[in-house]
């Protein structure tokens, strides 16, 4: 839901991130309110993943501040309130691990040191596996699953801690269609349960109806923040037809074809 009056769960002010001396994000402001579903969009390299990594505290800020639930991200201890799905192709490591084990590691935020899993922990883990539709595969090794199913395992892992705020970094990239639909279902269930979602996406696909608000990044800055846009407007590289404007006069020999005539809609 679009929630202009709710309590802010993420408040980013003047966020600037420098990676290896290069300013990758410059002075970005972003507020996400309780229950909102925000899509962070933009071309590759526009800084959308970097912004999410800065919001979760993975990257240090050069300037500015990030508040999560009103607490500065560096001092934020209620980690069970946030769920993070990193951008990566696989959930498998060097050793086989089954779906339940990977998902259970998302429950650690709510488990004390050396404390065995309680009944509530197991119920939350089973529920998370069920929401992404992998109950039948709970004891399969993740390395035997398809890329899309592994992505769903990572989402279930973030769900297992029962957080109120989700950060998902390109969960639908390179995912097969059945998994994209299962992903959209899982996110819809989350959103209906009242969670706030920040989703990084290059393109939305089946997730489009869920999005309340789109934030478009360009060149390390927020370029647009408002209701979702049609896909074409987001990327905005599609050059309209019509006569190309030439900056240099044509010097054509009789058998030359002008480049502007042979090229169609090129960049």
């Amino acid at each position: 839901m679009l929630n202009t009056a709710g309590t802010p769960v993420v408040e980013a002010r003047d966020v600037t991130v420098t990676l290896g001396g290069r300013p990758v994000l410059r002075g970005n402001n972003l507020t996400v309110r309780e229950g909102e579903f925000v899509a962070l969009m933009g071309a590759n390299g526009s800084g959308k993943s970097t912004l999410v990594r800065a919001l979760t505290g993975l990257l240090p800020l050069t300037q500015g501040s990030v508040l999560l639930f009103g607490t500065a991200v560096g001092d934020f201890r209620a980690r069970h309130r946030i769920g993070y799905v990193p951008q990566r192709g696989t959930a498998a490591g060097g050793v086989p691990a089954n779906v339940r084990e990977v998902v259970a590691s998302g429950r650690l935020t709510r488990r004390g040191l050396l404390r065995p899993t309680s009944r509530a922990d197991r119920a939350a883990i089973d529920d998370a596996i069920g929401v992404v539709g992998l109950s039948a595969k709970a004891s399969d090794s993740v390395s035997t699953l398809s890329g899309g199913q592994q992505q769903r395992v990572l989402i279930a892992r973030a769900l297992a801690g029962e957080p109120d705020l989700f950060f998902l970094d390109e969960p639908a990239a390179g995912v097969d269609l059945p998994s994209q639909l299962a992903l959209a279902d899982a996110l819809r269930i989350l959103s209906e349960r009242g969670a706030s979602v920040v989703l990084v996406a290059h393109e939305l696909g089946p997730l489009e109806p869920l999005v309340d608000r789109a934030v478009v990044m360009r060149g390390g800055r927020v370029a647009y923040d408002g209701p979702p846009l049609p896909q074409d407007d987001v990327h905005g590289h599609h050059h309209p037809g019509g006569p190309a404007h030439d900056h240099a006069p044509h010097v054509g020999s009789p058998f030359d074809t002008f480049q502007s005539q042979t090229r169609e809609g090129g960049r």
Binding site: I82, Y84, V95, A104, S105, T109, D176
Partner: protein, 343 residues
């Protein structure tokens, strides 16, 4: 060697000490090795082993216990390797290689300066049954128990950090602390295993049992438990094999332990290949939304194929939505009335 002689050997004090040390080493080394393989750092143990050679040599030079100097130098080396890896300087593995070779060369040089021959160092490089004192055995046992208690007690956290450090960091786990803990535990394991397997082969006892176990296992916990079982069998069995060679040979226990572990890997590998192939074949075909009746294709309309597919027809039966496909000569047959559809 006759069975009587072997029994006689087993009743000796030094042999019982060695067996006890081998058993605990065989349990502890794969436990930490599982986390190294999970982090794709299978060669970390090897690097620490090379660095520890310098530690042993320092002990020989200064006349203090080589075990203690090896522990200190191995831990310093492991922390240094972890710091280099974490900082991700341009060429992490080249930096590690420099450290490995520096450790080995330094160790051999210092041993030479100490006036000790290669024989003295060899007991540490490839293991030695007879060199264990009572104190050494207690030392080995205590450290092995510490390693097992920490790895098994912190298993969920160590697993989370080893499989996805970024997720673990957002979840509020102290990733750097746990990574350093694994490196330090690996260093301690190296020095524990030094007396039985030897520094140059210690990494094999950490890694080969894990590789053996993961041929069959589908979960992290069973891999870990299986690796510990394989490690214990290999360490005790290899020690007995080394001891049962005739008295005029000098077989160190390290090579026999490692070769036995490798033999167990070689025995399970074909089973693992078969299991993985079978599970891939049984994987259901995805139901695509464009599986419309228009795609109705009848297989072998020319009647070339008269075989009746069924439960025991020998063709892999694979689920596909609400029916079963039979994989056959590179295509998929779905029974439909009198004929088979191609899916």
């Amino acid at each position: 060697m006759s069975p009587v002689e072997l029994l006689d050997l087993l009743s000796r004090d030094f042999m019982q000490r060695a067996l006890l040390a081998a058993l605990f080493t065989g349990l502890a080394a794969p436990a930490i090795g599982t986390f190294l393989v999970q982090r794709r750092l299978a060669l970390l143990g090897d690097g620490i082993g090379h660095v520890a050679v310098t530690g042993v040599a320092l002990g020989l030079l200064t006349g203090t216990s080589p075990t203690w100097t090896a522990v200190v130098v191995a831990i310093l080396g492991a922390v240094l390797i972890e710091v280099i890896r974490e900082q991700g300087h341009t060429n992490g593995d080249v930096a590690l290689a420099l450290l490995f070779y520096g450790g080995l060369a330094g160790g051999v040089l210092i041993t030479g300066l100490a006036g000790q021959g290669a024989n003295k160092l060899q007991a540490y490089l490839f293991g030695s049954i007879t060199s264990l004192s009572d104190a050494d055995v207690w030392f080995t046992l205590a450290l092995a128990v510490v390693i097992l208690a920490v790895t098994l007690g912190l298993l969920p956290r160590l697993f989370a950090v080893a499989s996805d450090p970024e997720f673990a960091k957002v979840a509020g786990l102290r990733v750097r602390f746990y990574n350093l803990l694994i490196a330090v535990l690996a260093a301690i394991t190296v020095t524990v295993a030094m007396r039985t397997v030897g520094l140059l082969l210690v990494s094999a006892l950490m890694i080969v049992p894990v590789a053996t176990s993961q041929q069959m296992a589908r979960s992290f916990r069973t891999t870990l438990a299986g690796a510990m079982a394989v490690g214990a069998v290999a360490a005790v069995g290899g020690l007995l094999i080394a001891a049962s060679f005739p008295a005029n040979t000098t077989v160190a226990p390290g090579p026999t332990i490692v070769l036995l572990a490798l033999a167990m890997f070689a025995a399970t590998w074909p089973v693992g290949v078969w299991l993985r192939r079978r599970s891939r074949l049984a994987e259901p075909f995805p139901i695509l939304t464009d599986d419309s009746p228009d795609d109705h294709e009848v297989g072998h309309a020319d009647g070339e194929h008269l075989h009746q597919h069924g439960d025991d027809c020998g063709h892999p039966a694979v689920e596909h939505g609400d029916h079963v496909d039979y994989v056959h000569d590179g295509h998929r047959h779905a029974p439909h009335g009198e004929h088979y559809d191609e899916h």
